[in-house]
């Protein structure tokens, strides 16, 4: 099953992950966007990581 969201001829809504200049340029064009200053997740032992995703 595809859950692909409609893209062509739909209002663009963009999540920009990384370089902020792209976010700023989208804003300049009047596009709705949110900025993610991505940081790689901290390295955790597997059990902790699993536990964390279970509890979050």
């Amino acid at each position: 099953m595809s859950n692909a969201r409609k893209l062509f001829d739909e209002e663009l809504k963009v999540i920009n992950v990384g370089l902020k200049i792209f976010y700023e340029d989208l804003k300049r064009q009047g596009v709705r966007a949110v900025q993610v200053n991505y940081q790689p997740p901290p390295k955790l032992e597997k059990e902790l990581k699993d536990k964390l995703s279970e509890l979050l």
Binding site: Q39, P41, P42, L44, L48, K51, L52, E54, L55, L56
Partner: protein, 421 residues
């Protein structure tokens, strides 16, 4: 109910209690009379537990100073011998509901503020603020420091006491939460900037000083002391924050941090659902702006209970409300805003009462959740004063510091052990 749902419920409760607490400054007494369980041979200190051997320069300096202040030693050597013989009990402030900035040393005959939370009935305590520069809390203990401490006990304390007695009679004390709330709209973040809060407090206390019929000379000296010390109300704000975070403490299942603190050697935290169990890691050295003649190399690892302000959702977390604070702690206005924004990523809620005009009056980031710290790798970032690493020198600057990640990881491990699968 799954553990995840239990956490959700517990955190909601914890953070709501933190925000709903209503700390009032109700009274002031000497520590031995105010703090339950306080003993004559006891010294309270900032941060997680510390031994004399592991204590850093400024912490040692403050311990020496306090022992001389108490008349237990007449000089440095005697003080050191006394501690080395094991005749002094060192106890973290947090374990008795108290807080103190930097070394945070509280001895039996030092006056403390008594904060009472009108909502949940919790009490918290905080020592008096001496001003900046060469002061006991930064490890200085020369004559000037000691005579100031004596004056604070002999004149400032009774004066405050008389005024607070009047305030209590009149309206149950001074609502310090309201002062913080307003100060955040007046350019304070209420950790390293208390300019507005101190002004507000002086407005509040003035009529009671008059009513208390304090001698004119004493009134003048006390008034000048308050006027000339922008940090006068820091300790009251901290004790208020302690009351708020105590309201959130000991909620079963909660992953909210209720103590963030450092003693100059270690940093330590408490987590609501894990009670008074300390998680510690080496305290980082702050980066910052130094007074003329000092450099980064002089800086001691961070110390103080003052990060209780961030624990309660203001201080460094509210830096976006206080652009002017960067002239004191360094960085830029943009950094101040960025830090607040960044802290939203690791906090449970936006504060209901503490808001930031610049961010369209959003609530401050409140209630650090250890799960979010583990997920994002972002740790609480606070602003702080910087002590010289040698005993006796005092404050050399102010800056920014991040809590170590390991604290939160260890706490999460312990959490998993406690609440299991």
């Amino acid at each position: 109910m799954s553990l995840k749902e239990q956490i959700e419920e517990a955190n909601k409760k914890a953070v709501e209690r933190m925000m709903e607490a209503e700390p009032y400054l109700v009274d002031t007494k000497l520590a031995k009379d105010a703090i339950p369980g306080f003993r004559e041979d006891m010294l309270l200190h900032a941060g997680p537990p510390i031994t004399w051997e592991r204590a850093s320069g400024p912490m040692k300096g403050a311990i020496i100073g306090a022992l001389i202040y108490e008349g237990k030693a007449s000089n440095e050597e005697e003080a050191i011998k006394l501690v080395e013989r094991g005749e002094v009990i060192l106890k973290p402030n947090h374990e008795v509901g108290s807080v103190g900035p930097m070394a945070g040393i509280v001895s039996a005959n030092m006056p403390v503020y008594i904060i009472e939370d009108k909502k949940f009935g919790i009490r918290a305590f905080g020592n008096y603020n001496e001003g900046i520069g060469k002061v006991l809390r930064y490890g200085a203990y020369d004559k000037e420091v000691l005579s100031r401490l004596k004056w604070m006990r002999d004149e400032l304390y009774p004066t405050m006491k008389a005024a607070l007695d009047e305030a209590r009679k009149d309206k149950g004390g001074i609502n310090f939460k309201a002062i913080i709330q307003q100060a955040l709209h007046m350019g304070d973040e209420c950790h390293n900037r208390y300019v507005a809060a101190t002004s507000k407090f002086m407005n509040e206390i003035a009529p009671y000083l008059v009513k208390a019929d304090v001698p004119k000379d004493a009134f003048n000296r006390v008034w000048d002391f308050m006027k000339n010390n922008n940090f006068f109300t820091l300790n009251i704000g901290m004790a208020s924050a302690k009351a708020m975070t105590l309201a959130a403490h000991n909620i079963k299942y909660s992953t909210i941090v209720t103590v963030l603190t450092r003693n100059g050697t270690d940093a330590g935290i408490w987590v609501s659902g894990l009670g008074n169990r300390w998680f510690t890691a080496p305290s980082p050295v702050p980066k910052g702006v130094f007074f003329p003649g000092f450099t980064q190399d002089d800086a001691n690892p961070d110390l103080g209970d003052s990060s209780i302000t961030e624990t309660a959702g203001f201080g460094g977390f509210a830096m976006a409300a206080a652009p002017a604070v960067v002239s004191w702690v360094g960085g830029s206005v943009e950094f101040a805003v960025e830090n607040t924004k960044n802290m939203y990523n690791i906090t449970y809620a936006k504060h209901k009462y503490f808001t930031i005009p610049y961010l369209s009056f959003q609530g401050t980031p409140t209630g650090v959740d250890i799960r979010l710290v583990l997920k994002t790798g972002i740790t609480p970032t606070i602003n702080t004063g910087i002590a010289h690493k040698k005993a006796g020198v005092g404050q050399v600057g102010a800056g920014i510091v991040k809590f170590p990640f390991e604290l939160f990881k260890d706490a999460f491990k312990a959490y998993v052990e406690t609440y299991g699968a």
